[in-house]
Symmetry: C2
Subunit: 417 residues, 2 copies
């Protein structure tokens, strides 16, 4: 008998029929002989509807009251899911975040978990009940309702799994698992059987937003084994764990890409100490997320550097830089929008030099030039022209031996490699 945490997102419980399917799924898992705790998000559009209601009354509401409002979304989900499980003949009890023992600091809207007191949940499990826990929400030390911010429900599931020492935390979603790249772009993208926490973090940050990075970090830190799988099929999904074995000779696990990237270059910057801190501090204060930063060489005491932002933030970023011109003198700025960032990720590349060169080669063969490069131990990212993105990703997918063949898909020997 295993102890399993099953997490369902808002789209998985967004209708009567889906709620029933989730309840059925839970009871199937329980009948296999497991103890089941469930974490569930707010249904479908509930959260957006609540936000709309609040904006009509106060465009800038206190974070404490926003938490009070939004947590009703998950509370509705857990009650309805518990009722549905009862209707199907099971036993279930629902628990809000505070009832499930989630304690946080008092940073409303983005609270950090300080402690989990899972006695009530363990008590329910001991009585063969399905414990249905509201994701995203908790209670501060002084008894106020708090929320965990973005990725909150994934984090709730992982943190609960750690607290009750679950054998596995299953994240149910609308895809089959983690793929080697976006199957909409590369039709023979491969569903991965396993991936390491670090690889998942790189992929998650790069846009394959099936699983929130914060939850992956929490899982890595507490050694919680994750499985990402579909709410709609019985497929096995993808394991996320400390060490995921690579197939023989494969160094890249997956390929991610992010559209709508803009590059901003600042030329002829007076190279005084603290200049970078000045520029990027001001951008951060302006709420602008900067991704890749590249500084080229210094000549005559002046430096050129470039960085990327989401194209929607480009104009705001230029405004911030213009505003700094007195403190940070420079010759000129230039921008280029309509770019994409494509990244290869894989723990195997640590011990395989030449992977970056192989990437550049594959991109070059598509007639595309590389604008910027950024590397980490398990990742190489290139900023390139937006077109032809699909051809570039497909070429990389093939070049790094990720294409699945008919035989591979049904578990037989691979055609290539």
């Amino acid at each position: 008998m295993s102890l399993i945490v099953m997490k369902f997102g808002g789209s998985s419980v967004g209708s009567t029929e889906r709620m029933q399917r989730v309840a059925t799924r839970i009871l199937e898992r329980q009948r296999e002989g497991h103890q089941i705790a469930v974490v569930v998000s707010a249904m479908g559009d509930t959260t957006d509807d609540l936000i709309d209601q609040s904006k009509a009354l106060n465009p800038n509401p206190p974070a404490r009251e926003m938490d009070m409002l939004l947590t009703t979304g998950e509370q509705i989900s857990i009650a309805l899911l518990a009722m549905t499980i009862h209707q199907l003949g099971g036993k279930a009890a629902s628990y809000t975040g505070w009832q499930a023992g989630f304690r946080t600091d008092d940073k409303h809207g983005k609270a950090r978990i300080t402690e989990i007191l899972p006695e009530r949940i363990l008590g329910a499990l001991a009585q063969d009940q399905v414990a249905v826990v509201a994701g995203f929400q908790a209670m501060s030390e002084d008894g106020a309702i708090t929320t965990l911010g973005r990725g909150g429900s994934d984090t709730t599931a992982v943190a609960l799994a750690a607290a009750i020492e679950a054998d596995v935390c299953e994240i149910y979603t609308d895809v089959d698992g983690i793929y080697s790249t976006d199957p909409r772009v590369v039709p023979n993208a491969r569903k991965l059987n396993a991936i390491s926490y670090d690889e998942m973090l790189e992929l998650a940050h790069l846009g394959a937003a099936v699983l929130h990075p914060r939850a992956v970090e929490y899982a890595k830190h507490h050694g919680v084994q994750l499985v990402v799988r579909s709410s709609f099929t019985q497929n096995e999904g993808t394991q996320v764990k400390e060490e995921a074995e690579m197939e023989q000779g494969v160094v890249v696990r997956g390929i991610a890409f992010e559209k709508n990237v803009a590059r901003i270059s600042i030329k002829g910057v007076e190279d005084v100490p603290g200049v970078l801190a000045n520029v990027f501090g001001a951008l951060a204060s302006g709420g602008i997320d900067v991704d890749i930063i590249v500084q080229s060489g210094i000549s005559n005491g002046k430096a050129d550097f470039s960085f990327t932002v989401n194209a929607d933030d480009c104009e705001a970023a230029l405004g911030v830089i213009e505003g700094l011109r007195k403190e940070v003198p420079y010759v000129e700025t230039s921008t280029e929008s309509g770019l994409v960032k494509v990244s290869i990720v894989g723990a195997g590349m640590v011990s395989n030099p030449g992977v970056a060169a192989q990437m550049f080669e594959a991109i070059y063969k598509q007639g595309v030039s590389v604008k910027m490069v950024s590397t980490s131990e398990i990742k190489v990212s290139c900023v390139i022209e937006a077109e032809p993105l699909q051809e570039v990703v497909r070429a990389l997918h093939t070049a790094f031996g990720l294409d699945t063949s008919e035989e591979a898909f049904v578990g037989g020997p691979k055609e290539r490699r």
Copy 2:
């Protein structure tokens, strides 16, 4: 400076505009120099919508989960009201039932208050915050969310007023106060300045459902002074308190009536001990509310008796009686539907014999015959034919000196009396 509890029902906060009006009202009261705690119900149709959602998934859901579901309605209200107060420049914090310290037994759906721990609310008031408390909801000893059942938000307001020793508990509603009778039936019905708890209880039970009887009982028991007043006007409303002064020579405070009454008569019942307990026990078990019961004399060891039920329950009641025929032999039953119950209520009638006779006289003068009579110390009820109801109520209103004149309405001397 007074400490005031203000209670607003669901229709008072049912739209953006109404929510803003309520927040404005609260801040006006605070600027008069008072400390303000507010109790609010779920907005408009929220509760019905939640019930519909649950029925689609489980027609007979566990009461614990129903409480979990329904309490989100008030939680949404308190968050939005607190936000609105902030938007208007005030300070407010919202509190769920459990946060406000409401503790109950574990009878989900109809829990009884066991204790109130109002420290958090008193703390907010001490900081000049408006404490916005969710009506209807609480927490059981083992930490489950409970609801107080019908009239729950009125009860929350009164219980909170008792716990924080408020000077007054103001119940805001869509009418100006308590009237001597229904103004839709008697256009010159008089708004009462004051009424006693006992009179209010009789009127509330009799259908003037502005204030739930349970809340009135709680107020009487704890000596909480109530005021019923309008959310929409600045009128003074009606005080509900221990001793409400009667005007000189007036013995009746108000006239209530209830339509859709059916009388059931059972004739020739074997007069064995326990026969009444048998019949009315079985009706109660069948969920049928019996109101007036009249037993006429016994002859030859056989009794006739009659009782009233809501006409919708008439057939079910006859079925229950038929099912008892072996245990409780009788000769025949007869029924009469389409009746009304009209009642006069007033503490003054205790010391005024002849009030009942005066009532019968007024009814008789309208050509209406009295079918049944029931009396208490401060009430006389008659079951009569449904038509002409309006004329009967108007006649009683006039006969007992309740009509308001133009002068009376603006505060001048009364024309009559």
